[in-house]
């Protein structure tokens, strides 16, 4: 979520002069809803200096006054047990950064008995504070009650009741913000020792006439099924199957639509742009490049829709409970499962989803593992290569062999991801202690449409912005490299090329292009894997985004149909070197290529996202390095093993 339109013409210095208001509260208290309601769409994400903790900041306008609002990491207490909570304490103490001028303490009214302990600890810091009471509607619905004015008197600070996702009480909260300098402070700071704190909390609750919300009947009944040892597991797998079915099956017609649109656009360009250079640049490079990536937009939006729905309903925390034991084997916790699940479509949302992990170490380990999950961009590459490797009619038992190989690649990705996470947790940082695992089980709720739409919109716009710039740039550069230098007709005729045959001309141009030189230059690296210079160019171009491999290989092979180069590829032979004349796409080479793509981090957008989420270049470089080396080694292994069996 960027705010370029809101901040243009507003110097950064001016922003920092605004009164700084920070939101603090427990992870499920509804901080983000309040934050979104206060700041609207102009929120910015970033990182705290030097650490892997996502930072959310925005501005809130009340009349002609403006406030800088920051959503601090959620926590249940001020004795930090993770790096992220350390950041919260550092911010409150003004340690290394400016302390907020005022605090909004967001508290879930249905968990007041627990939450007031946190309120006590925050109030003890002595900053001007206002308590924001969320989920008051739910408290009333479940026959609970609280007197907001009496609560305010008992606490000695202003209390505002809001229903964040409906916007109720937000106007009052904004009014309250205007007076932040005059907010009353408690006469006596509340106790922070747990024993005394309990007594203080009980006295505040009884003064405020607090009546506990009845246990949510629907939640109890649903959990009896969804967390049932047997039924819960069955439902979990059913949800997962449905999840992937929706992401892949429902997205297909939408993707077809996007493809068709770009097809029409491309035809229009080739019909109306007569200059062959411009037509190639716009038709093949720009439209082909951007179109190839935009095809994945429906899938990404669907994925985010489903994830934010499951999250909003409350199923994700149940899924995390069910998967915790399995994730524990890799040294991770249940919540990392959600991030890895998203990575099946695309590592970018998966890496962004690691923000829900309270431990920075777990975040890093999950980010390093996420690119190994088989993302949608690998799919076209796998389809083409498996098509070359396995006869479509071949079966193994009742299953088609092609499908089994595909499943095996997905399995390979998932298993390697878990192993990678385990290794990064184990060897990444041995000094620090394991973070304890605890997870609040919120009652099942109807997700707020606003929050769901925001999540989908955020993902879509970020995908469009981040990816299209990178893809456009690479495709253009590649197209130029494949078509330069220019050859005159005389030159080509002197080389024995039939200049009347356009296929022969493009084959000559490609074979003598700068790209070919580059492909031959890296040959020593990829020769042991059986790649020839054309595959090298494909692999190099796929370095920006995997799906370019298919299109590039088609272009390089000068296939009749760049979208389906399989036939042309099958017959392709080494053009030079000791293997000249032999077929390139033999089983060992294809196996090596498949495995290479399964491991290599060929996605600059992922590198960019890791850079953004960790705030340093260290982790994207580590990920890139270890994945590329592993890819090469595993590909070599795959080639050797396959060659052994095929002979």
């Amino acid at each position: 979520m960027s705010s370029s339109c809101h901040e243009s013409g507003q110097p950064a210095a001016q922003l920092t002069q605004l009164p700084q208001v920070a939101l603090v509260g427990a992870p499920n208290a509804g901080k983000t809803s309040v934050f979104n309601a206060l700041t609207g769409l102009n929120a910015k994400t970033g990182n705290y200096p030097g650490v892997t903790v996502a930072r959310f900041a925005g501005t809130c306008r009340v009349g002609d006054r403006k406030f800088a609002v920051e959503d601090l990491p959620g926590s249940y207490g001020l004795d930090p047990v993770s790096l992220d909570e350390q950041v919260l304490v550092d911010v409150l103490d003004g340690d290394g950064m400016r302390a907020p001028d005022a605090l909004l303490i967001v508290v879930d009214a249905t968990t007041l008995r627990r939450s007031l302990g946190f309120v006590a600890q925050v109030l003890a810091r002595g900053l001007p504070s206002c308590v924001v009471l969320t989920f008051t509607d739910e408290l009333l619905r479940r026959q609970g009650a609280v007197d907001v004015d009496a609560l305010s008197q008992a606490l000695g600070v202003p209390v505002v009741a809001v229903v964040g996702h409906r916007g109720h009480g937000i106007a009052e909260l904004r009014e309250q913000l205007l007076d932040w300098r005059d907010w009353p402070t408690p006469v006596m700071p509340p106790p922070v020792d747990p024993g005394e704190q309990d007594a203080w909390v009980e006295s505040v609750l009884s003064y405020a006439g607090y009546r506990v919300a009845q246990p949510h009947g629907l939640t109890r009944r649903l959990d009896a099924v969804l967390l049932h040892p047997l039924l819960g597991t069955v439902v979990f797998f059913a949800v997962m199957v449905l999840f992937f079915q929706t992401v892949f099956a429902l997205a297909a017609p939408l993707q077809g639509g996007v493809e068709a649109f770009f097809g029409v656009l491309s035809e229009w360009v080739s019909a109306h742009v007569t200059n062959p250079w411009l037509s190639g640049l716009f038709g093949d490079a720009l439209i082909g490049g951007v179109g190839g990536v935009l095809v994945f937009l429906p899938q990404i939006m669907l994925l985010f829709l489903l994830i934010s729905l499951l999250e909003g309903v409350g199923y994700m925390s149940r899924a995390a409970v069910l998967m915790d034991r399995v994730m524990g084997r890799a040294g991770l916790e249940g919540r990392a499962f959600v991030a890895l699940l998203s990575s099946f479509a695309c590592a970018i949302p998966g890496i962004m989803a690691t923000r829900t992990l309270p431990s920075a170490k777990d975040r890093i380990a999950t980010m390093m593992a996420a690119p190994l999950m088989t993302c949608a961009a690998r799919l076209p590459v796998y389809v083409v290569l498996i098509g070359l490797l396995v006869d479509p009619a071949a079966t193994f038992g009742p299953f088609g062999l092609q499908g089994l190989v595909m499943f095996g690649l997905y399995l390979l990705g998932a298993v390697s991801a878990m192993l990678a996470a385990w290794a990064f947790k184990k060897f990444g940082d041995r000094r620090s202690q394991p973070t304890p695992f605890y997870l609040e089980m919120p009652p099942y709720r109807l997700p707020s449409p606003r929050a769901v739409l925001l999540a989908v919109w955020g993902a879509a716009s970020s995908f469009l912005r981040k990816c299209s710039t990178i893809i456009v740039a690479t495709t253009m550069v590649l197209w130029l490299l494949l078509n330069l230098p220019l050859h005159s007709t005389e030159q080509m005729q002197a080389a024995g090329v039939d200049t009347a045959d356009s296929a022969a001309v493009s084959a000559y141009v490609v074979d003598h292009s700068y790209a070919a030189e580059v492909g031959r230059l890296v040959a020593p690296v990829f020769d042991p894997l059986g790649f020839d210079w054309r595959i090298n160019v494909g692999v190099l171009s796929a370095q920006s985004a995997r799906e370019t491999f298919v299109a590039t290989l088609g272009q390089v092979a000068a296939a009749e149909d760049p979208e389906d180069p399989a036939d042309a590829l099958r017959a392709m032979t080494y053009s030079d070197g000791p293997r000249a004349g032999e077929l390139i796409f033999t089983a060992p080479t294809i196996a090596a290529l498949l495995v290479y793509f399964a491991f290599a981090l060929q996605c600059m957008a992922t590198v960019g996202v890791i850079r953004r989420e960790t705030g340093t270049w260290r982790w994207p470089l580590v990920a890139f390095g270890y994945l590329t080396v592993t890819a090469w080694l595993m590909a070599y292994l795959a080639r050797t093993v396959t060659a052994f069996f095929v002979g």
Binding site: G195, P436, Y438
Partner: protein, 100 residues
Amino acid sequence: MTSRTFEQGADGRPQGEAGGGERTLADLTPSATAQVVSVSVPGSPAVARRLADLGFTPGTEVRVLRRAPLRDPLIYQVKDYEICLRRAQASCVTVVEVDR
């Protein structure tokens, strides 16, 4: 602020006096109800404090709601809400079972 442990019982009794009825949260089976006696995490006072902040303070009543399929983690009701703990954390909370 960080070096605090909670060795004291609800009414100030030292830990252990409750006798044979004393177990940890991890030993309880679903639908059992117990009262927290103490929280102690060797070598990690911050984690002990966190468990207290989550509601596991001496004298507080805790109910076991359910166990995940592989018997870990476990879900408890404490201070009017539901929380899931791994066995490792639950075994740091000493409790005495109460009848309801």
